[in-house]
């Protein structure tokens, strides 16, 4: 049985705890959050111990794996501490706020000989892994132009940290880094990146970016990230190749929709599309990490992958700032 400590009991920490409970051979034994109530809420479901300081979890002898579900700027110091304690570490995406920090985290884990995986969970989403399989099978021939959209309202989090560019890096660094990792997984290394966005516009609680990526393979990708859409969360993906094209839209490829009459008017209220699957992508992701630790194998999503996804996001932000395309590699 691998024993897990979760640091950070926000949305992701709570969800990860639920996921671990479904994985044989894994058990959450400790949850830490500066907000004691939040830690307790998560810990109590699984009879885990509660802490207000993550360091206390890292210091526990019986913890094998530490799961870092903290805001991005706190990733580095915690991963370094976990590695120094000789424990395996799973860390939410993005790996860090800058490339240097990301490199240090990878180096520290390598040096300590511990497993390190970053939560680029998109690779475990059924629709995205199916898309990757279609591309690899040659269904669309040689890919040419790829379009992705990831749109939501502005996220709410601890101290509204998502709204703080220095901390979260906006929609580019926090959200469409998912798509950057997916695209790099499918189409290889990047040649250059150009982007426009609202990251430095000073407009509060809105972010929006349109990113152009040219891959070394020739593929041109258009990545849209929005915290400006009033509707609920949705994603789209289109891959056009010289032998075919596929498109996916979460708003239409949904097997279940629940529409409720709104209580006051009696007319149609909000329709919530649902996409139930037997095992959540988050559980699949964490199950893989647990297996990697148990079998002493390198995880599918490496620290290097996470660093390269971060590189694309930072290039996009830099391009938004300067108005110039960014040539790769940045480091």
């Amino acid at each position: 049985m691998l024993k897990i400590g979760i640091i950070g009991a926000g949305t992701m920490g709570g969800m990860h705890a639920d996921c671990f409970s479904e994985i044989d051979g894994a058990e959450v034994i400790a949850v830490a959050d500066a907000r004691e109530e939040a830690a307790k809420n998560v810990a109590s479901k699984y009879s885990a111990r509660t802490f207000t300081n993550g360091d206390d979890i890292i210091a526990l002898d019986d913890v094998d794996i530490v799961d870092i579900c903290l805001p991005t700027p706190f990733h580095k110091e915690n991963v370094l501490k976990v590695a120094a304690a000789g424990k395996h570490v799973f860390c939410e995406k993005p790996i860090a706020r800058n490339l240097q920090d990301g490199k240090e985290m990878i180096d520290a884990c390598n040096k300590a000989g511990v497993k390190f995986m970053v939560g680029h969970v998109l690779r475990y989403f059924h629709e995205f892994s199916a898309a990757k399989n279609l591309i690899d099978s040659g269904a669309v021939g040689k890919p040419g132009v790829v379009r992705t959209t990831r749109a939501a309202g502005h996220p709410q989090g601890w101290s509204n940290w998502y709204a703080n560019m220095e901390m979260a890096g906006g929609v580019v660094l926090d959200m469409i880094i998912h798509d950057f990792d997916f695209l790099r997984w499918c189409f290889g290394e990047v040649e250059r990146v150009y982007a426009k966005g609202l990251a430095y516009s000073g407009i509060p609680n809105v972010d929006y970016a349109l990113v152009t990526i040219r891959f070394k393979s020739g593929v041109i990708a258009h990545v849209e990230g929005s915290w400006a859409h009033p509707r609920g969360f949705f994603v789209t993906l289109e891959v056009a190749g010289d032998g075919g094209l596929f498109e996916f839209d979460s708003r239409t490829s949904s097997p279940l929709k629940v529409s409720k009459k709104s209580s006051d008017s009696g007319e149609g209220g909000v329709e919530v599309p649902q996409n139930p699957v037997n095992e959540s992508p988050y559980t699949m992701e964490l199950r893989h990490f647990i297996q990697s630790v148990a079998e002493d194998k390198e995880p599918e999503v490496t620290g290097e992958d996470a660093l390269r996804a971060l590189e694309i996001a930072l290039a996009a932000l830099q391009s938004i700032k300067t108005g110039e395309p960014m040539q790769f590699p940045l480091i």
């Binding site: 040689k142 040419g144 132009v145 379009r147 250059r192 150009y194 426009k196 966005g197 609202l198 516009s201 407009i203 809105v206 929006y208 349109l210 152009t212 040219r214 020739g218 593929v219 041109i220 258009h222 849209e224 929005s226 400006a228 859409h229 009033p230 509707r231 056009a240 190749g241 010289d242 032998g243 075919g244 094209l245 108005g323 110039e324 395309p325």
Partner: protein, 327 residues
């Protein structure tokens, strides 16, 4: 009213001719076409006399001419019409293949008292007109950004011969949406970045383009011009625009008024369009401007030039991998 049609090289000409024939008091007086056999069968279909020399057609002093020749022939035909004394000229987009020619066309029309209009029929799509009205009513507040596409199918023919078309997918599919964005925002493009390439077909012209356009009102927009719709795709392409505003979002999928058809005759799905014909709105407006001297056709040579400038800047940007300013 007598209309002369100079060339059916661009397939839109047939649609314009059909629209003309639906209007009372309007007749197609003559058709010039490069290919005589095709031209003669066109006169049988749409009426009028066939001319193997467009100057002979212009000598008959039609009230207006519609020019749908290959892009690189627009200049010759427009200037000939203006010099022949034709007062109303409607030219297919793009206005020309280069900026110098476009400026000369505009100047020559001005000097000869001819009104030059450019065929941007997308302005006449009801959903597009409604969207513009919503913007005028400030439905989504200040516009911040736009994500647009004008995808297509590879058209072949002279469209993929650079000396005739001036360029591939970027030249073909930049003008429409740039014109709509300018029309929506009353703002001009100032800088363009583009990635372009030949990613779908084995040929010597671009079939993929992704532009990022900065407007002088601060709005940035992307435009995907790619001929990325495959033979198996249910329709020819699209015009989509998503406008991101401070208070909301407007999404246009201009040809979404369709029925999904699954017919064993084609053994593929197809989207059968049932929306209004945008060309008929365009042609009606053009004819109104010919009839009524107080009514100017709203889409000018200058509008054509502004849209062309973006395509030209995009090619330059794709070559140097840098943003290119539009002066």
């Amino acid at each position: 009213m007598k209309i002369g049609m100079i060339s059916f090289a661009h397939m839109h000409a047939s649609s314009y001719a059909a629209c003309l024939n639906e209007l009372d008091g309007v007749e197609i007086a003559g058709i010039y076409n490069e290919n005589k056999n095709v031209g003669q069968s066109l006169t049988q279909k749409f009426g009028g006399k066939f001319y193997s020399n467009y100057n002979d057609l212009l000598a008959e002093s039609p009230d207006a001419v519609i020019i749908c020749s290959a892009n690189s022939d627009h200049k010759e035909h427009v200037i000939a019409a203006a010099k022949a004394g034709c007062k109303h000229i409607l030219c297919e987009k793009p206005i020309s293949t280069n900026i110098e020619d476009a400026k000369e066309m505009i100047d020559q029309c001005d000097e000869n008292g001819a009104k030059l209009g450019i065929a941007f029929p997308c302005r006449y799509i009801p959903a597009v007109m409604e969207a513009r009205k919503s913007l005028e009513e400030n439905a989504i507040g200040k516009i911040l950004a736009a994500k647009t596409t004008n995808h297509g199918t590879m058209p072949g023919g002279w469209f993929v011969q650079k000396e005739k078309s001036g360029g591939g997918a970027v030249m073909d599919h930049t003008p429409h949406v740039v014109d709509l964005l300018r029309w929506f925002m009353d703002s001009d493009p100032v800088e363009v970045y583009a990635e372009s390439g030949t990613l779908f077909y084995d040929m010597d012209i671009d079939d993929a383009g992704l532009l990022t356009i900065q407007f002088d009102n601060g709005v940035f927009a992307t435009l995907d011009t790619s001929w990325s719709r495959t033979k198996s795709f249910p329709t020819w392409g699209d015009v989509t625009m998503e406008l991101i505003g401070m208070e909301g979002v407007i999404s246009i999928d201009a040809f979404a008024q369709d029925i999904d058809l699954y017919s064993d005759i084609n053994v593929k799905a197809s989207w059968e369009y049932w929306g209004d014909n945008m060309d008929s709105g365009l042609i009606k407006d053009f004819i109104t401007s010919v009839e009524d001297p107080d009514k100017n056709f709203p889409i000018t040579g200058e509008d054509g030039l502004k849209a062309l400038e973006v395509a030209i800047a995009a090619y330059k940007s794709a070559e140097v991998n840098k943003p290119v300013k539009i002066s």
